[in-house]
């Protein structure tokens, strides 16, 4: 029974490590910024499980509350403010800007 528990632990740790790496890779390389922020929140939750696996329960509590929750809320609020400012700018002027080499989109990331 002890060896089967050990295999389960090894499998769980391996899968968790893989999930962490894949989430980080996807969040850093996705072209859509709101998708990246949502992936960052789930990355924080998976990291919280990793802290429990490493016997650091205090850090798991703090990461779930601060790292995933609060940082995610900060990012989403900032992104919303960015997109609202751009919407105001686009409403205010209806000609494309002249410095864009004939490309009439707005300057930041396209949101889908």
């Amino acid at each position: 029974m002890e060896t089967s528990l050990n295999y389960a632990a090894i499998t769980f740790d391996g899968v968790l490590a893989l999930v962490l790496l894949v989430l980080a890779w996807q969040l850093l390389r996705s072209p859509n910024l709101s998708k990246a922020i949502v992936l960052f929140i789930s990355f924080g939750l998976m990291l919280s499980i990793a802290w429990v696996r490493l016997k650091a329960v205090d850090i798991a509590l703090a990461e779930a509350a601060i790292g995933a929750g609060l940082t995610g809320a900060l990012f989403l609020t900032a992104l919303d403010r960015l997109q609202r400012n751009e919407a105001n700018d686009c409403d205010r002027q209806d000609t494309p800007r002249s410095s864009q080499n004939g490309n009439p989109q707005i300057k930041s990331e396209d949101s889908d």
């Binding site: 509590l61 703090a62 929750g69 609060l70 809320a73 403010r81």
Partner: protein, 247 residues
Amino acid sequence: MIRKNGNHLFSRPGQSIAAIGVLTLTGILGWTVWTLPPFSDQMSALISSKMPISGVDNPVTAVLLNFRGYDTLLEIGVLLLAAVGVLSVAPSAVMRADSSPSPILVLLLRLMLPFIILVSGYILWIGKYAPGGAFQAGAVLAAGGILLVTAAVRFNLSASKAMPLATGIGLLIFLIMALATMMVCGNFLQYPVTLAGTLILVIEAAATLSIAAALVRLFVGVKSDTDPPASGEDSKILTFEEENLIK
């Protein structure tokens, strides 16, 4: 100003150079990880032997508040500094909700705020015996504060006199305790052994309030658009019963 490369800051050769540099660094660090000694017990043995005089039962709380209390004092100072910095970028940040929050959010606020306060107090108290403590409790209370700021219509948090006091009280109490223990016991932040548990609880309670207030201010500073607030009708503080009557 659209640059040639879209999202990226460098051209292709520059990206390859950066990739090679990062891969080299990662390789060196990975090799170091592989050759670390398998066991290192000195610090944990030292802390386990000194646990009876620290006044608490949780080793992480003992290290945070007693053995390395100076780090925690400076960390609360850093949080306060960040809140001041964010508020200086957005000087007219008013902690008030939008005029029409979603009804789901209002329901969530009404159901969860008492539980948030209760859970935060529990986590603060249990930090002496089990995983918990000031930072986790402060973060949960900050979540409640953020709910209040985004969902409570006509609740003007920035008109309250308690908010600046709550933001500063953690650092203030910690400094007062540090100077008092310096006068009594001789060293900065050296607690007397019989009073250590009580002092830690008092410092943690003040720190919880301070951390929660600073985190809510950080959130409001990022959220606010530096437009001056509409004058007049939204500057009074109304309670929830009055809000029900108005609706």
